[in-house]
């Protein structure tokens, strides 16, 4: 079994954690408060920051250093809250049998900003209880500190994990190459590090993808690997609409090193802008819509054999739908992909409010989303007092409150 380098080279000790000196110092100070039978004023530490910056690894290293047993729970897992009071609660209030009186347990609650809400009715309240009673250290891990209710944040030492600098990523990549006996050009490592934008884990994954099994890693391995893809997709786009046979059109997708569910985003971003006739537009989109239906079926039922239908529809289906003339456009990367990436967090917030309402108001989350959220939002924009009371009752976090409050300016003009 091939071990991911990101796991293989995970820091074992606190002083191996890279680029988070401040965070590690704060963490140590907090942890020492738990030594010699003590209990610090804040029983928990909230580690927050972007993905791949070392939050979980640091918590694990801390436990190792202090000789604490590590208990990891995932807050977004529905099972967690059937057991959180039991496991986390007892783990945090009793010592362990095996390590004797000195032994403590470090309870790590991962994805604390994604607490599974509905089944347990009040997951955050459960956490709050655990923290208040804890006689063992608890670590909460989240991406965004403001997605955690303030009642919980108040019980935590807040520890920020920052994006790593390019230099510190390069340094780590260099060490890994040395350990793997790969001779790497510094520039190659810099290119990988830059693309990772402060996420060390993804940088290590990228490095493994291009360097594994090689003795030497050259700049051309890295650059060509990236540039290749983009030349191809632009060529495919420009040739696609000039294809005259379905065979020719579908062949373009084969030449492209990109899965159909990725290619469809490029096609739908650029092709519609080339068309001059509304009838062409409609037919092209109908082909894309049908291709997307196949992609949906593939995704839901793992019927990968259907991929070729999706591919044919988004290439041949699109190319042969056109009858009118073409406009010249400059191709661009799909903006929607980036946009939808951003939506994901908005949607997560929206759905978590809906879940909270659903569990309180005897309804489904779909119903709550459709028939409660819009009106709740009106209340939040116009009646601060009522909004505060509702927010408190539903235990809404800051992100959730701002979701409900936003858009006030546009809406003011509708009402006036």
């Amino acid at each position: 079994m091939l071990e991911p380098w990101a796991d293989k080279y995970r820091p074992q000790k606190l002083n191996e954690v890279v680029g988070q000196a401040q965070a590690v110092r704060t963490m140590l100070k907090w942890a020492e408060g738990w030594g010699r039978g003590g209990r610090p004023q804040k029983p928990a530490a909230l580690l927050y920051g972007p993905a791949g910056t070392g939050k979980t690894a640091t918590a694990a290293a801390l436990a190792r250093e202090f000789g604490w047993d590590l208990i990891e729970l995932n807050a977004s897992d529905r099972r967690t809250f059937n057991v959180i009071q039991k496991v986390a609660g007892t783990a945090a209030t009793t010592g362990t049998l095996f390590t004797g009186a000195a032994g403590k347990r470090l309870v790590v609650l991962d994805e604390a900003d994604n607490v599974y809400g509905r089944a347990d009715r009040g997951g955050y309240r459960a956490i709050e209880q655990v923290l208040k009673q804890a006689s063992n250290p608890v670590v909460l891990i989240a991406n965004d500190q403001y997605s955690i209710p303030w009642t919980i944040r108040a019980l935590c030492v807040l520890i920020n994990f920052r994006r790593l600098t390019q230099d510190s990523i390069v340094k780590v990549l260099g060490q890994i190459c040395k350990a793997e006996k790969i001779e790497a050009e510094p520039l190659a490592l810099n290119v990988i590090a830059e693309a990772a934008r402060g996420d060390l884990r993804s940088a290590i994954n990228d490095l493994q993808a291009v360097a594994m099994g090689k003795r030497r890693l050259m700049i051309k391995d890295v650059v060509v690997y990236r540039r290749d893809k983009e030349i191809n997709i632009f060529e495919v786009l420009s040739q696609l609409m000039h294809a005259t046979s379905s065979k020719q059109a579908r062949g373009l997708l084969w030449a492209l090193d990109r899965p159909p569910d990725d290619a469809i985003d490029w096609i739908s971003e650029n092709i519609p802008r080339m068309l001059s006739e509304p009838a062409d537009l409609e037919r092209v989109y109908d082909a894309l819509s049908r291709a997307d239906i196949f992609l949906g079926r593939i995704r839901r039922r793992q019927m990968y054999g259907m991929m070729s239908y999706a591919g044919d529809l988004m290439t041949a289906g699109v190319a042969l739908s056109r009858q009118g003339t073409l406009k010249y456009v400059r191709f661009q990367a799909p903006s929607s992909g980036k946009l939808m990436g951003r939506t994901r967090s908005t949607r997560a917030v929206r759905d978590s409010i809906a879940k909270k309402i659903a569990s309180r108001c005897h309804t489904s989350s779909g119903e709550a989303r459709k028939h409660f959220l819009p009106y709740m939002s009106v209340i939040f924009r116009h009646d601060k007092k009522a909004a505060n009371r509702i927010a408190e009752e539903l235990e809404l976090g800051d992100a959730e409150i701002s979701y409900l409050t936003k858009g006030a300016t546009r809406e003011e003009s509708i009402l006036k």
């Binding site: 109908d286 819509s289 929607s336």
Partner: protein, 323 residues
């Protein structure tokens, strides 16, 4: 677990069967079950917001008194992940004996017509298995979507869609308690925008009251407009005018900045079609198309592509209307 006291739907949800408005015959029969403390499995059919869930909650409160929550399990078929989850929860719950002097517990399965026929057969077996310790109350919109074997094991109750009188009676109760003024035309407007759904009516009323202490027709329509902003109509108008790319940008705004679900956007598109300045027969054709894309949305992988395709269709219709 306390109920929500700031959300009026909960704050004013009837605690006794006799407090529920409309549905008189249904309520009489349910009351007699409660009085005799003998309950068959029940199937409640009727439109949303007609009192099905409330009736189930009232039955539990009246049968079990204070500790009703210990003897009442509520599941929502559309939120649970499949029949196995439901079965496991029922199993866990039914294993222990009921608390108090009533010899059974109640399991409410909301939106039970969301279950496939196969899942319903599995449910039927589960009902059989625990019938000595549990009573099931199944809520659904249409009883015809529930398989025969389940129907035949339940007493079926049909809840009517509520009318203006019913809604008025209930909202006036709230108005008195909250010291608000609610005009008759306000009631009429709320009934219209909520389509006789008491849950929606109550939400509309609470939102309107956040704007004005006196809730009239005007306030109701203002709230309705504020809750469903004009962006959707603007998007459709842009598409009809042939400005497809601008319409598409508007769509991204709805999806991204406002975080709306594709399904909900199409729901609003459906509603807005009636307000567009296009010939009536064209509206009917568009509704058919929107329905088609709503369906594709459930089958497809990317709701963005399906919504864009719907907009492309609007562009084509706009073009045809101009020429």
């Amino acid at each position: 677990m306390v109920e929500a006291e700031e959300i009026w739907v909960e704050k004013y949800r009837p605690k006794k069967l006799s407090e529920i408005v409309g549905q008189d015959e249904v309520l009489n029969r349910l009351q007699s079950f409660v009085d005799k403390k003998s309950l068959p499995h029940l199937l409640f059919a009727g439109p949303p917001g007609s009192g099905k869930t409330t009736a189930a909650l009232c039955i539990a409160r009246e049968l079990f008194g204070e500790g009703w929550r210990q003897n009442f399990l509520e599941l929502n078929a559309s939120d649970e992940r499949g029949i196995d989850t439901i079965r496991n929860k029922v199993k866990d719950y039914a294993r222990t004996r009921p608390i108090g002097d009533v010899p059974y517990k109640i399991i409410l399965l909301d939106e039970s017509d969301a279950l496939t026929p196969d899942a319903q057969h599995a449910l039927r077996r589960t009902m059989e298995m625990y019938t000595h310790t549990c009573r099931f109350i199944l809520d659904c919109n249409y009883s015809s979507r529930i398989i025969e074997p389940i129907q035949s094991r339940c007493a079926i109750f049909r809840f009517r869609r509520l009318n203006e009188n019913n809604i008025g009676q209930y909202l006036k109760r709230i108005a008195r308690a909250e010291k608000l003024t609610l005009t008759q035309d306000g009631i009429k407007a709320i009934t219209y925008v909520s389509e006789g759904d008491m849950r929606r009516a109550t939400n509309v009323f609470q939102a309107a009251a956040a704007l004005k202490r006196k809730v009239s027709e005007k306030a109701v329509y203002e709230v309705s407009a504020a809750a469903h902003p004009e962006d959707v109509r603007q998007m459709l108008e842009l598409a009809l005018e042939g400005k497809f790319e601008q319409a598409r940008d508007k769509l991204y705004d709805l999806l991204v900045n406002q975080g709306l679900a594709g399904e909900d956007i199409l729901g609003q598109v459906h509603r807005e079609i009636f307000n567009l300045k296009i010939p009536e027969p064209v509206k009917v054709k568009l509704i058919d198309k929107v329905g088609e894309f709503d369906f594709r949305l459930t089958e497809g992988a990317s709701e963005r592509i399906q919504l864009e395709a719907a907009l492309a269709h609007f562009s084509l219709i706009g073009d045809r209307l101009r020429s």
